[in-house]
Every structure is written in C-alpha cells, then in structure tokens.
Symmetry: C2
Subunit: 95 residues, 2 copies
C-alpha cells in the first residue's frame, strides 16, 4: 500500500484544530480554544479528553480567582504525533 494509515486521533477536524493551535503556543485555555475552533463546550470537552488520554496533551484544572480554568498544553508525544501525521498526510495531498 502506498498510503500510510493516518493517526485516527488526529484525522478529525476538531482534534486537528486543537493540536494545530496548541503546537504554536506555550499553552491555551479551554475558553480560548473553544473560541478559536468554534466548537461547542461539550464537543471540546470530549475531544480534549481523548487527546489527553492518548498523552498528546496535558490538561490542568485550576481556579482563577473563583472561576475554574482549564489549561491545555501539547506534550512531546503530541508534537511528535502531529508531525508524523502531517508527513503521512503529504502523501495523499501531492500525488
């Protein structure tokens, strides 16, 4: 087969957008990611969980004053997975 299997965790529009955001910043908050991706809170929550479970991102829950604040940060594993995904995908894009 000439086509490599694409990491199914990354081959999802919302999760890819999340990773795309996180790869270029130190960290990002739930609310910011929600705004940037235009995702619903529920959907975002689920997808962050999946990325977190896979070890692609680290999610930290804290309080800012009295408000909860969820911060996300890409991990080394996540950076790696993202780069591999992009490389694998190139095969499909320029035949």
């Amino acid at each position: 087969m000439q086509f490599k299997t694409l990491d199914p965790l990354l081959h999802s529009q919302l999760r890819l957008a999340i990773m795309s955001l996180l790869i270029s910043v130190e960290s990002a908050e739930f609310v910011y990611i929600k705004e940037q991706t235009a995702a619903t809170a529920g959907n975002l929550s689920v997808q962050l969980d999946k990325l977190s479970t896979a070890g692609y991102i680290k999610v930290t829950k804290a309080f800012e004053g009295k408000k909860p604040k969820t911060t996300c940060k890409i991990t080394a594993k996540g950076v790696n997975a993202f780069e591999t995904y992009v490389k694998d995908l190139q095969q499909y894009l320029k035949p």
Copy 2:
C-alpha cells in the same frame, strides 16, 4: 473561526486516497484502486458510491470479455473539491 470546515466527503482516509489516486491518472479500475488503497471490496464499493453521488467521480460499469469491469474517473468538480480541500487543510498543518 480561523479554521475552515473541511469537506467531510474528502476528510476520510479511504476517500482521500481514492481521490489522490484518481487525480493523477486518466482513469482507474476498481481492482487497481482496491490494491493501491488496500481497502476491502465492500468498503471501496461504498466509498466510490459516495464520491460518485457527490459528482466527484464518474463510475462506468462495463465488461472486459466476460468479466465485469468498473472504471472510475475524477470529474472537474472532483478536482476542484480536492484542491479546495488541500488548500483548506494547509491552515491546520502549518500554524
């Protein structure tokens, strides 16, 4: 939102592989696509139908001697959709 919606018809590994193949050849037969993509016949049949219904490819059924022969060819609409998809996707890949 900074992220464009990716054409869901193309944001699927198998269908993207099919389109990637078809964009660089005049036409291709069912069996050849099946080999190149390592898809099962059933899955391939379903995905070709979807691409065909969307007008992204044209599927022609004929006989070669006594054997059925299904030939697929990308359409102008398909080429366009593929190019748009690739362009939209770039946004996610190089942040």
